[in-house]
Structures are given as C-alpha cells and as structure tokens.
Symmetry: C2
Subunit: 453 residues, 2 copies
C-alpha cells in the first residue's frame, strides 16, 4: 500500500510536474504549431500561385472520378440506346432512321415522315447523323483517366520547326516515336524494327504522302491507284481532288486492266472500311506498290493474329484512342528513300506536323502502354473491346427488330494480345458508316427485305 501510496504520491507529483512543464511548454507548442501552419499556408500559396492559371484552363478535367466498369458499360449502352432509339427501348422501340447527309447534326424539320426502302419512318423521334463517323465514344474513358492523359504545353515549348534536326523525319517528336514503337510492341500488331516512322497530320496526309513518294516523278502518265471494292469512300476524292499528274484513281482493283509491267499502287485497308472484313493485296505485279491502311488493326476491333510487316503501313491516332481532333497519324515505312520522300511531301504540304498534338499523342499512347506494361488503370483496349461488343450486340438487335436488314457474320480468331478467341467487331461500322451504307444501298436498290453488304 505504502509503495502504492508513495507511488501514487510520486505519480501525482510527476503529473503536476508534467502539467507545469506542459503549461510551460504550451507557448512553445503554440509557436511550433504556428510555424507549421505558416509554412503550410505558404506552401498552399505557392502551389496555388504556381497552378492557378493552369487551373483556369483545365476546367474540363477537374473533378472527374474514375468510372466503374459497369457504369461505363451502362453509359455506353445508354448512349447508344438514346441515339438509336430515342424514347424507345432496346428491342422494341426502333422506328427507323432519317438520313441527314448535308449537315452534321440537324433536327428533322417538322417531324416529317420519310420513305426509306419499303417502310415509313417517324423522323420526329429519331435523327442520326449518318454522313460520317466521329469516334467520341471513348471520351468517357479518357475523362476518367485525366491524371494520366492530360498534358501541359508551356508557352515557350516546341517553338521551333524542328524536333530532331538532321534525322529522317526532322519534325517528329522523339517521344512520340518512342511511344509508337512501344505500343506496337505491347500490342504486337506491327513490326517496327527495320521500319522508319513518319508522322503525319492524320493518316489522310500520309496516304497522299505515300502516293507522292511512290509515283515515278518523270512519268508521262499518272500512276494508277486501285483498291478492292467496297473501298473507303475518301480514297478516290483524296487521290483526285488536285488532278495530279503523278497519280490517278483507277477504281476497283478487280476491274483494273492490269499489265504486269505497268506501275500501280494498290490500297489495302484491313480491317476494311466500309465492310469490316480483313483484306489482302489482290495484285502482285512486278512494278506494283502496296499501301496498307491498318487504321482498325487494333485489339478492340479485331483479333491480333500477327505483327504486320508490309512495306508501307498507315495508322491513325483517331481510330486507336478516339482523339480525332488531334490529327495525328503515322506510317511505318520499310524503304528509307520512300520514307524520305514522304517526309518531303509533308514538308511541302504543311512544313511538318503540330508538335503540341505530337506531345499529346505521345502522352496518351504512353498511358495506354502503361496500362498493360506497368499495371496502370488505363487498360484501354479492354474498355474499347467491351464497348464495341455492346454496340455490336445492340446493332444486331436493331437490325433484327427492324426486319429490313441483316448484318454480316464476322469470323473469330485467336488474338495474341488478349490471349483469347475474339471476334472481329468492325469499329468503322458501329454505329455510323455501316448503317448509312446499308440504308443507302437498300434505298438505292429499293430493297425492303434482307440486305447484307
């Protein structure tokens, strides 16, 4: 007890002593807390001052929380349901569509009813822009990945015309080339070792650059440019709009009067726009060149069955990640002289390619690769494939319910990227080009029953 008592007295003394010391230490603590607070507030101020101007410009990326997969899926489905069957439901509400070819987005005037094929449709309820595609379907994904996909371009950055003075493609940002090569390695869809990379203002510019590079410069007759029908509707117009003396559109390769010793350029789009099927070159002439447009050869659209290794392969950023407004494409070119001449075309045409867009493309392609190589959140191709599959299913339901159309059956194959048996899901057909072409074709031929392209 005494011990306890003594102990108790002693501890009481210690407590009193601690209280006194605590009381004596309190001003010091307040002082310390004050210093920490001031330092912290100063840091607040510095951070705010450093970034407030950026914050003003970055409103769109503020506050976006990563979306759950199911949420994203539902949203995609909801979006498609809204655009395909506004006011209806997935399987029963389809009333038809109105063709709007002249304007980008336009309400049908007065809700007039139009005759398409054999069916009358209610234009008041549904308006779909069928003039062109616009890959904004991935926007939601990138909103959830702002922290990995946002770039800052400082006022004094990339002011020069040059990115790598003295190199083959002197206006190409080294970081973009690295990320392009890396992404092809990650996906396994194209060989890059031994190929030259040429950047372009979208792949359309690169297509023209390739025509320029492959055309014999001193020829009397323009070289013939052909492709197997059905082909991308822009090929003829882009080839011929300047009435070049170097090259000329010659139409369907199957109707082409092919001479073995005559030069030609064959365009091979695989997966093909507009029909979605995989394609190979038809001609094999001695003096022929082939340009492979591989815009859709990515895992969300098709199984990756081999690393492509063609002489000229075109890719476009817009179809990979959906960033069409950024206008970036690239070519993988086997022959150095051809790559140099393609670079020359871009120099003469636009004196290089926007560096801001190159930096942005590098950042976003890097985020996609990070998702698979470093275990990042941005597993973009998984998302894209799920979205394509959902849309394809909805389109099939729409076609079935309309009774006027059927859709082609696309094959499946082992995909080396996913490691699974996957189906070809043609991105260019969903939901725009195909519908347009299907409806247009049927309307033109006055078919009102099954129509398969």
């Amino acid at each position: 007890m005494a011990k306890v008592s003594v102990g108790s007295v002693g501890s009481e003394k210690r407590k009193r002593g601690q209280r006194k010391r605590g009381q004596r230490d309190l001003p010091a603590l307040v002082y310390l807390a004050g210093v920490v607070t001031v330092l912290s507030l100063t840091l607040n101020g510095v951070l705010f001052f450093r970034f407030h101007s950026l914050y003003r410009s970055s409103a769109p990326c503020g506050g976006a929380a990563p979306a759950e997969a199911s949420d994203v899926g539902n949203a995609a489905a909801a979006f498609l349901l809204t655009s395909l069957w506004r006011g209806g439901n997935g399987s029963d509400g389809a009333k038809g569509v109105c063709l709007e070819e002249d304007e980008h987005v336009k309400a049908s005037p007065g809700g007039a009813r139009q005759q398409i094929g054999g069916s009358t449709v209610d234009c008041d309820s549904i308006v779909i822009n069928l003039d062109h595609g616009d890959p904004t379907m991935y926007e939601r994904f990138w909103r959830a990945m702002e922290d990995q996909a946002t770039i800052v371009v400082a006022g004094s950055q990339t002011m020069s015309y040059f990115s790598r003075a003295g190199s083959l493609c002197w206006f190409m940002e080294p970081r973009l080339e690295q990320e392009i090569v890396r992404l092809h390695r990650v996906v396994g869809n194209a060989q890059t070792d031994g190929w030259h990379v040429v950047v372009g203002t979208g792949s359309t510019q690169l297509f023209q650059a390739a025509l320029y590079a492959l055309s014999p410069p001193e020829t009397e007759e323009p070289i013939s440019v052909v492709s197997a029908a059905p082909y991308y509707s822009s090929y003829p117009s882009v080839t011929d709009f300047l009435r070049s003396g170097l090259y000329r559109w010659a139409g369907d390769v199957h109707a082409f009067k092919f001479k073995n010793d005559a030069p030609y350029i064959e365009l091979v789009c695989s997966p093909n726009n507009p029909d979605g099927f995989l394609k190979e070159a038809v001609l094999n002439g001695e003096k022929g060149w082939t340009i492979h447009d591989l815009a859709y050869y990515w895992p969300q659209y098709t199984p990756i069955t081999a690393a492509a290794a063609h002489d000229i392969m075109l890719f476009t950023f817009s179809k990979i990640t959906g960033h069409a407004g950024t206008r970036i494409g690239w070519a993988l070119v086997k022959d150095r002289a051809v790559a140099e001449k393609m670079t020359k075309f871009i120099e003469l045409n636009t004196i290089g390619v926007s560096k801001d867009s190159q930096l942005r493309a590098a950042q976003i392609l890097g985020a996609v690769s990070d998702g698979y190589e470093l275990g990042g959140r941005a597993r973009f191709f998984d998302y894209g494939r799920r979205l394509m599959a959902e849309r394809w299913q909805l389109l099939q339901e729409a076609a079935r319910s309309s009774g006027n159309f059927s859709l082609p059956h696309f094959p499946s194959a082992n995909c080396s990227f996913t490691g699974e048996m996957t189906q070809l899901l043609p991105g260019n057909l969903i939901p725009l080009d195909f519908q347009y072409r299907a409806l247009h074709f049927c309307s033109a031929h006055r078919w009102d029953v099954e129509c398969a392209i």
Copy 2:
C-alpha cells in the same frame, strides 16, 4: 500615485488573470493551430495530387522569372554576337561564314577553309545554318510569360473532328477565331468584318487551299500562278510538287505573257520574303485573282499603315509570335464560296487542323492582345520590335565590317499601332534568309565587293 499604484495593482491582477486565462486557453490555441495546420496540409495534399501529374510535364515552364528589358536586349545581342562572331567581337571578329545547306545544324568538318566569293573564311570558328529560318528568337519572351501562355489539354478534350458542326469552317475552334479577330482589331493591320476566317495547318496549307479554291475546276489548262521576283522560294515548289492539273507555276509576273481575258493567280507577299520591301499587285486582269501573303505585316517588322482589305489574306502564327512548331495559320477571305472551297481543301488534305494547336494559338494570341487591351505584361510587339532593331543594327555592323556586303535601306512610316514613325525591319532577313541569299547571290556572281539585293 495611489491611482497609479491601484492601477498598477489592478493591471497586475488583470495580467495574472490574463496569464491564467492564457494558460487555460493555450490548449485551445494549440488545438486551433492544429486544425488549421491539418486543413492547410490537406489543402496542400489536394493541390499536389491535383497538379502533380501536370507538374511532371511542365518542367520547362518552372521557375522562369520575367526578364528585365535590358537583360532581354543584352541576351538577344549576345545571342547574335555568338552566332555571328563566335569567339570574336562585334566589329572586328567577323571572319566569314560557312554555308551548310544539307543539314540543319552541323559543325564544319575539320575546320576546313572555304572559298566564298573572293574571300577565304575560317569555318572552324563560325558555323551558321543558312538553309532556312526558325523563329526561335522569341522563345525567351515566352519563357518569361509562362503563366499567361501555358495551356492544359485534358485527356478527354477536343476528341471530335468537329469544332462547330454546321459552320463554314467546321473544324475551327471558336476561341481561336475570336482571338484572331481581336488581335487584328488591336493591331489594326487587317479588316475582319465581312471576311470569313479559315484556319490551316500553317499558311503553307492555306496557300495551297487558296490555289485549289481559285482554280477553275473544269479547265483544260492549269491556271497560271505568278509573283513578282524576288519571291519566296517555296512558292514554285509548293505550287508544282504534285503536278496539279488545276494550277501551275508561271514564274515572275514581269515575264508573264499576260492576256487580259486569261485567268491567273498573282501572289503578293508584303512585306516581301526575301527582300523585305512592301509590295502591291502588278496585274489587274479581269479574270485574275490575288492572294496576299501578309505573314510579316505585324508591328515588330513594319509600320502598320492601314488595315489591309484584300480578297484573300494569309497570316501565320509562326511569324507573329514565333510558334512555328504549332503549325497554325489563317486566311481572311472575302468571298464565301472561296472560303468554303478552301475549307474543303483542308478537309480533303488533312481532315481539319489540330485542335490542340488551335487552343494553344488562341491562348497565346489572347495573351498578346491582353498586353495591349488589358494592360498585361505581355507587350509582345514592343519586345519584338526592340529585338528586330537590335539584330538589324548588328547585321548592319557585320555587313560594314566584312566590307563585302551592304544592306538595303528600308523606309520609315507612321505606324498607327505604335503611334510613332517606325522603320521597316524585315524579320525574314534577320539573321537567316537574307544572309543566305546575299552570300549565295554574291558567290554565284563571284562578287566580292558590295552586294545589295
């Protein structure tokens, strides 16, 4: 005294009471300070988390303090001195220059001595790239203005092909158009009311777009494209590289076999590249078109004497603010049909213009206008004019000291923008194009004395 004493006793009591209350309040103060600290640290954390990914990408813009005018001036002079007379001084050290046309930046191998004109020069000491211009001279200014000129592009921003669906130039960002119109109003160098704005991937693309738009589509013979010599060296190559059936380069306007009823396109570059003088159209045919290239019609290069009001006026972002890597230009077009056809050219050529670059151009042009309209720091044209004047003076000294060259005298005029009598200071000649042309011309003609172009 008593009063004092009482007062003293009372105040001592109050002090004791305050000390006691203070001691009692100290834990509350510590608590309060702790709360503030935690809140502040949390805010720091939020700010850091919000911006750390941006900060990683924005290294170039960190820590740049606004440069003093004298510092900027000295730096510009130092730069020019270094590049013109590495190892020498302004008036005595000039030894000559080596022409390097094939590569962008290349050391002269082995310090070989070259014969240029009649003088032997020491290539070991000085190497200047004379193949082309690159307007990086404004970089220092923009480094000091990062807070006003930096942009953030979020991952989900500007993904669509379209900026203003349904408008004439459907791929043009509205903010860019606003800032273009605003800057022309601030500077007073071009009329915009009643003109259509078409954006391009640099003005080179717009030049081709204008040729396409002005060429009669069904003509047998390509329309002749002419310009008064000396003309910009790219005009002939850009006009003819695709051997278009629509237009063809026809050379110097003074040597052109002009027929009053025959269509033609005359290019007028004013101030002119390469000679720097102001130009006007030479021909006035009934079926003729004129394209005015006003790349250098800005206050740092020339007095602004009137708001230009030509049918087609081309401007390029690179020559205004030095952002050549951004690849943005615009055309002011009087005729709607011509503007529409120019837009069509850009659609076929590159499916629009990079939106990232458009947003950047809008931000930077806005900063320039802010400097004059809102009293911001970025009084860009003041800086540019001072820089041009310093360089021009140095070039004059270099020409004088070499004894081989003289420079033309440029006229002065009242500038409506500065409100002062200012001299024409041709930006395209300083320090690259002019030197190249002067040296090349002299070398070709084996002149080793005075040479004035």
